[in-house]
C-alpha cells in the first residue's frame, strides 16, 4: 500500500519531486532579486509580494485554480472535477507516470511564481492588501485559463502550439499582465523625478544565480519524466542563458565600453525565459542561437522603456514578456523532430507551426493584458491600489508592514502594552 500505484514510475517521480522543490525555491529567489532592485525602504514589501504569492496562490490553486487549468473541460477553460483536490491522489496523472498529486504541486509552483513575477511592475507604490486581493483573483481567473490553453487541452494545444515550460502562461502571462498592472496602478511618485536605483546589487546577482538554478527544475521538469525532452530541456537551460549573457556583455560594451552587473543578472533571466517555451523542442545548437537572438529585443526594450512614461518598474515585460515571445516564435522556426520526437518548425519543413506559434503570441498576451487590467480596475474600485505620496516617501516597509529591513535598534522605545506599563521613553532601568 505504501509503494506507488501501477503506472507510476519511481525514477520519474524522484526527478519530479526535486524539480518541484527547485521551482518552489525560485519564488523566494525572485523575492531576493526584486528586493535588491528596489530602494532599501521598500525591500521588505517587495520580497513580501513574492512570499504572499507562495501563501495565497498555493491556497487558491489547491481549491480551484488547478481544476480550472487542468481538469477536462472546454477549449477555453477546464472543468471542476479536481476542485478542492478531489480525486487528486497517487494514481498517475493522465499522460504521465507520476502521481497526480505531485503533478498538481509541480503545476502549482508555476502559478505561484507567475503571480509573484507581476509584482515587479508595481513595487514601491502598490498597496499590499490590494496586491494580495489581486493575485488571489488573478491566480483563479487569468493563470489557469492560459495554462489550460496550452497544457490543459485547450484550443492552442488542440492546434499543436508548442510551449514546453510556459512561454504563454508564465512568461508572456506575467509580462503582459505586468504591463497592464503598471498602467492600472500608475507610476511611482518619484518616477522621472529622481533616480530610483537598486539598493543592493549583490542580492540581484545572487537572486539571478538562484533563479537559474531553479530553472533547471522548471524546464527540466516540464517533461514530467526522466526522458529525452527533460534532458534536452535541462541542457538547453544551461546553453541558452550562457549565450544571452555573452551577447549582453557585447551589447553593454558596445553601448558604454563597460559591462554591467545588473545587466548580467538581467541577461540570465532573459536567457532562461527565452529557452523556457522551446527547451524540449530545439537542438542544443539552436538553443545557443536562441540565447543570442533573445537578448536583442529584451535589451532594446529595457533601454527604451525608462524613457517613456510607463513605470513598469522592474521591466517584467522586457525580461519575461518579450523574451518569452521570442522563444515561442523561435520554436516555429527551429523545432526539430529529430530532437523532440514531436514536430518540426518552418526551417525543417513545417511552416504551419510558425503560424500557430504566432497566434499563441497574440492570444496569450491579449488575454493576460485585458484580464489583468479588468481585475486591477475591479480591485481598485473597492480599495485604493496606490499608497499615498507621503507613504511612498516614508517607504512601503514602514507604512505597510511596520518594519524596516535594516535596523539598529537605536531610538527604539520598547512598548510593553499588555502589562499596562508603558516603558519610559527610550530605555528603562
Amino acid at each position: 500500500m505504501l509503494s506507488l500505484p501501477a503506472g507510476v514510475n519511481a525514477g520519474d517521480t524522484a526527478w519530479m519531486l526535486i524539480a518541484t522543490a527547485l521551482v518552489l525555491m525560485m519564488t523566494p529567489a525572485l523575492g531576493l532579486f526584486y528586493g535588491g532592485l528596489v530602494r532599501s525602504k521598500n525591500t521588505l514589501n517587495t520580497f513580501m509580494m513574492s512570499l504572499a504569492a507562495l501563501g495565497i496562490v498555493t491556497v487558491t490553486w489547491a481549491l480551484i485554480g488547478y481544476t480550472l487549468g487542468f481538469a477536462p473541460g472546454g477549449s477555453l477553460i477546464g472543468g471542476l472535477r479536481f476542485a478542492l483536490l478531489r480525486g487528486v491522489t497517487f494514481a498517475p496523472r493522465a499522460g504521465t507516470a507520476i502521481p497526480h498529486l505531485l503533478f498538481m504541486a509541480f503545476e502549482g509552483s508555476f502559478a505561484i511564481i507567475t503571480a509573484a513575477l507581476i509584482s515587479g511592475a508595481v513595487v514601491e507604490r502598490m498597496r499590499f492588501g490590494a496586491f494580495m486581493v489581486f493575485i488571489a483573483l488573478w491566480s483563479v481567473l487569468v493563470y489557469p485559463v492560459l495554462a489550460h490553453w496550452v497544457w490543459g487541452g485547450g484550443w492552442l494545444a488542440q492546434h499543436g502550439v508548442l510551449d514546453f515550460a510556459g512561454g504563454v502562461p508564465v512568461e508572456m502571462g506575467s509580462g503582459f499582465s505586468a504591463l497592464a498592472a503598471a498602467i492600472a496602478v500608475g507610476a511611482r511618485r518619484d518616477y522621472h523625478r529622481q533616480a530610483l536605483l537598486p539598493h543592493n546589487a549583490l542580492y540581484v546577482l545572487l537572486g539571478a544565480g538562484l533563479l537559474w538554478f531553479g530553472w533547471f527544475g522548471f524546464n527540466g521538469g516540464s517533461g514530467y519524466a526522466v526522458n529525452q525532452p527533460s534532458v534536452l530541456a535541462f541542457v538547453n537551460t544551461l546553453l541558452c542563458p550562457a549565450c544571452t549573457l555573452v551577447v549582453w556583455f557585447v551589447l553593454d560594451a558596445l553601448r558604454d565600453r563597460r559591462v554591467t552587473a545588473i545587466g548580467a543578472a538581467t541577461a540570465v533571466v532573459v536567457g532562461c525565459v527565452g529557452i523556457t517555451p522551446a527547451a524540449g523542442y530545439i537542438s542544443p545548437m539552436a538553443s545557443m542561437l536562441l540565447g543570442a537572438v533573445a537578448a536583442l529585443p529584451s535589451y532594446a526594450l529595457i533601454m527604451w522603456r525608462p524613457r517613456t512614461r510607463l513605470d513598469e518598474s522592474l521591466d517584467v515585460l522586457a525580461a519575461h514578456g518579450t523574451a518569452g515571445l521570442t522563444g515561442m516564435l523561435f520554436i516555429g522556426f527551429f523545432a526539430e523532430r529529430s530532437w523532440n520526437g514531436i514536430g518540426n518548425g518552418l526551417l525543417f519543413g513545417h511552416p504551419a507551426q510558425l503560424l500557430w506559434q504566432g497566434i499563441a503570441v497574440l492570444a496569450g498576451p491579449a488575454y493576460a493584458f485585458i484580464g489583468t487590467y479588468i481585475l486591477m480596475r475591479l480591485v481598485g474600485a473597492v480599495m485604493p491600489l496606490r499608497a499615498s505620496d507621503r507613504a511612498q516617501a516614508v517607504g512601503m516597509d514602514v507604512v505597510e508592514h511596520g518594519e524596516e529591513a535594516y535596523t539598529t535598534g537605536e531610538g527604539a522605545i520598547l512598548v510593553v502594552a499588555s502589562e499596562g506599563e508603558r516603558r519610559d521613553r527610550f530605555a528603562t532601568r
Binding site: R193, Q194, A393, V394, V398, G402, E403, E404, T407, E410, G411, A412, I413, L414, V415, V416, A417, R425, F426
Partner: protein, 118 residues
C-alpha cells in the same frame, strides 16, 4: 565665513541638491543622520516586540560659505526642504574661522570656490 548645517528629510534631499545648485552653492558634504524632534513616532513590531521609533531618518548638509552667501544658502535649503509638515528640519549657522583646500593649500574664500571640471 560660516559653516551652515542643514538637516532635512531624505525624500527632499534631491530637491535640496537641486536648489543648492541653482543658488550657485557648489561645494558641500552630506551624510545620513537620525533626528528627533516634534515628529509623530511610528510604531513597529518585530514578532512580539513592539517599539516606538523615536528617531526619523534625516540628511545632514554641511556647507562652508563666505558671509555674503549665507542668506541665499539658507533660502536654498528652505526652498528644497520645506513640505510644511512637522519634521522638515533645521538649519544651523556656525562661525567658521578658517577654510583650507587640501589640494592646493589655498585658504578661506578661495578654498570654498570649486574649480569647474565638468
Amino acid at each position: 565665513m560660516k559653516l551652515v548645517i542643514g538637516i532635512v528629510r531624505p525624500e527632499q534631499a534631491n530637491d535640496v541638491l537641486e536648489s543648492l545648485y541653482r543658488a550657485q552653492v557648489r561645494g558641500f558634504s552630506m551624510s545620513r543622520v537620525q533626528g528627533h524632534g516634534g515628529e509623530l513616532e511610528h510604531v513597529e513590531t518585530y514578532r512580539g516586540t513592539t517599539v516606538q521609533m523615536g528617531l526619523s531618518e534625516k540628511v545632514r548638509f554641511e556647507i562652508a560659505v563666505s558671509d555674503t552667501f549665507v542668506e541665499q544658502t539658507i533660502d536654498a535649503l528652505c526652498d528644497g526642504a520645506r513640505t510644511g509638515e512637522v519634521g522638515d528640519g533645521k538649519i544651523f549657522v556656525l562661525p567658521l574661522e578658517r577654510v583650507v583646500r587640501i589640494r592646493t593649500g589655498e585658504t578661506d574664500r578661495a578654498a570654498v570656490t570649486p574649480v569647474d571640471q565638468g
